[in-house]
């Protein structure tokens, strides 16, 4: 298994496990494509057995019998509680504030959790054209908690986004409260190096834990600004045997996302 090393798990595996734990106690989660898909399915099998999985494709209460390889996989539909049109899902569920938590990622994030999934370079003459918003812009505004999962690097944790696809915190908490959105902005960022929260007073991303074996220097070397540190900076608990078993045997037996 690549990236496994002496720790017994890969970088993606600790990201998945740490993210899944942030869902403890949540009820209704909007699931994204890729890693978040595995994270939510893991959480449903561990810390949040009552978690209702909602997919923007129009599925509520999915109980996929296999790892869904797309957010519209047929296994999400068979055995689910409800299938809705996308209009209803976005209007009556998301825009109406029913979604407790949602995952987002991006090519770039700034220190206030604003995300770029649109373009690297200039919009009209892009260096790299990224997928665009999808539902991210409305998820960022309406989901009560936004959980970010992405790999960390100088080019992705940036001082200035090339494009703001989805709004995070503004840096002015008073302004943020006056927005009147259901969304409170990103509450958690999990990377391959550590986990972050956001400072309540300033809305700034704050390093909470380092993954086992990761140094603060590695973190600094992989982000575009000097990170704010939690006073009680700790270590991320490694994935448990049960988490690893679920990931490897049930959720992603072919290792498509996790190796």
């Amino acid at each position: 298994m690549s990236g496994d090393g002496e720790l017994g798990y890969s970088k993606n595996e600790i990201m998945i496990a740490a993210s899944a734990r942030t869902l403890a106690g949540e009820r209704i989660c909007f699931v994204g494509v890729g890693l978040p898909n595995i994270v939510c399915n893991l959480a449903q099998r561990t810390v949040a057995p009552d978690l209702q999985l909602v997919y923007e494709a129009g599925v509520f209460g999915a109980r996929p019998a296999r790892l869904p390889l797309s957010i519209g996989d047929p296994s999400l539909v068979t055995g689910s509680t409800a299938v809705t049109s996308m209009f209803e899902l976005f209007a009556f569920y998301l825009q109406a504030g029913l979604i407790d938590a949602a995952f987002l990622g991006g090519a770039q994030i700034d220190r206030f959790g604003n995300l770029n999934t649109t373009v690297i370079g200039e919009y009209r003459s892009p260096k790299v054209r990224l997928p665009g918003s999808g539902g991210a812009c409305e998820i960022a505004i309406h989901a009560r908690k936004v959980l970010v999962i992405m790999r960390q690097a100088q080019r992705s944790f940036v001082e200035r986004l090339h494009f703001r696809t989805s709004p995070g915190h503004s840096g002015d908490p008073e302004h943020d409260r006056a927005r009147g959105w259901f969304g409170s902005g990103p509450t958690s960022v999990v990377t391959d190096l550590g986990t972050y929260g956001f400072d309540e007073a300033t809305g700034e991303m704050t390093l909470l834990t380092l993954h086992p074996g990761v140094t603060l220097d590695e973190v600094r070397a992989n982000m575009g600004w000097e990170p704010k540190l939690a006073e009680d900076l700790g270590e991320t608990p490694p994935p448990t045997d049960e988490e690893l078993r679920l990931i490897r045997e049930e959720l992603d037996p072919e290792g498509i996302y996790t190796r």
Binding site: R27, I28, Q52, V59, F60, G61, R63, A65, R66, D73, P74, S75, V77, T78, G79, S80, T81, A82, V83, E88, A91, F92, Q95, A96, G97, L98
Partner: protein, 305 residues
């Protein structure tokens, strides 16, 4: 967590004096049983919302539970008038009734706006009609795009409580309806609290076998009340027919305040529950209203495990 409750408990806990209440269902699945319980518990000062206030709202308004009516078509469908409502509007007898009226599509769009958390909803209606003149909540708006098309907009309607009736629901509130859908889904999503009344409580597996039939997930439902025949004299597709004779007879009851009072006494106040109403109506009536079988056929969702 089961949300199953008796009608008495659901109404006692979830419908409060002064609330804005919607009992929706367009000709189909009108929950008379809930209306009767609201009367029985002598709720007061309600704002009642419904596209078509029909016999159930005549009964409720005649019984004095409401101070205001929000609606789009006021009548006993196919028969005539709602005389208790008319007495209050025409003669403030026994007291005035405030009204706020729209068209059908206007009411539907108000629920959609409420369900979708929109501050207004655009509609191509009301042009050259007197309705906006008597309802200033219906406002003209110009499209910001080139051609400057004029539309009207209506405001969101967000009931404190919406009550819908369904053929079946799980104990957790996952609700399935077939036949006419009216605007129950929109009215329920728009509400702060939702009571689902159903003909049958079914196992979760029944719902999960056909998720495309689900109109409400349990997460928006506060109470599930099993109440067979709870729509009488309205109907539940596949379960019982509309009782046209009752609608015809209502004309005479409704015309006479004393007859109305006597009807309420006999059929609501002096009964403890809808189950007693069903028994009192008699088995013969339910037999007469029972439809034949016309099944939907099955589709295959596919097992993808």
């Amino acid at each position: 967590m089961s949300k199953v409750a008796t009608m008495r408990d659901a109404v006692a806990e979830l419908v409060r004096d002064g609330d804005t209440v919607a009992i929706e269902g367009f000709t189909h699945l009108i929950c008379f049983a809930a209306g009767h319980e609201i009367i029985r518990q002598r709720k007061r000062d309600l704002t009642l919302c419904r596209l078509t206030p029909d016999v159930i709202y005549d009964q409720m308004i005649g019984a004095g539970v409401a101070r205001k009516l929000v609606f789009s078509w006021l009548g006993n469908p196919g028969v005539g008038s709602l005389h208790a409502v008319r007495r209050r509007i025409e003669h403030a007898d026994p007291e005035p009734l405030e009204i706020e009226e729209y068209s059908h599509f206007g009411m539907v769009c108000r629920y959609v706006a409420g369900a979708a958390n929109l501050p207004f909803f655009p509609i191509r209606s009301y042009y050259e009609s007197d309705i906006p003149r008597v309802n200033p909540n219906i406002k003209p708006m110009r499209s910001p795009y080139g051609d400057g098309t004029e539309v009207y907009v209506v405001p969101p309607l967000r009931p404190d409580v919406t009550i819908v009736h369904a053929q079946r629901a799980t104990a957790e509130g996952d609700t399935q309806i077939w036949g006419l859908m009216g605007c129950q889904k929109e009215a329920a999503f728009a509400a702060d609290r939702v009571i689902v009344v159903c003909e049958e409580i079914v196992d979760e597996a029944v719902v999960r076998r056909d998720p495309n039939r689900t109109v409400l997930p349990g997460v928006v439902v506060d109470a599930v009340v099993p109440e067979p025949f709870g729509c009488h004299p309205s109907y539940a597709q596949g379960y019982y027919d509309r009782d046209n004779a009752f609608y015809l007879e209502w004309e005479n009851v409704s015309r006479d305040p004393e007859a109305l009072e006597a009807w309420l006494k006999e059929w609501v106040y002096e009964l403890e529950s809808h189950a007693e109403y069903v028994e009192k109506m008699g088995a013969e009536r339910w037999e007469r209203l029972k439809p034949g079988v016309a099944t939907s056929g099955e589709v295959n969702y596919g097992d993808y495990s």
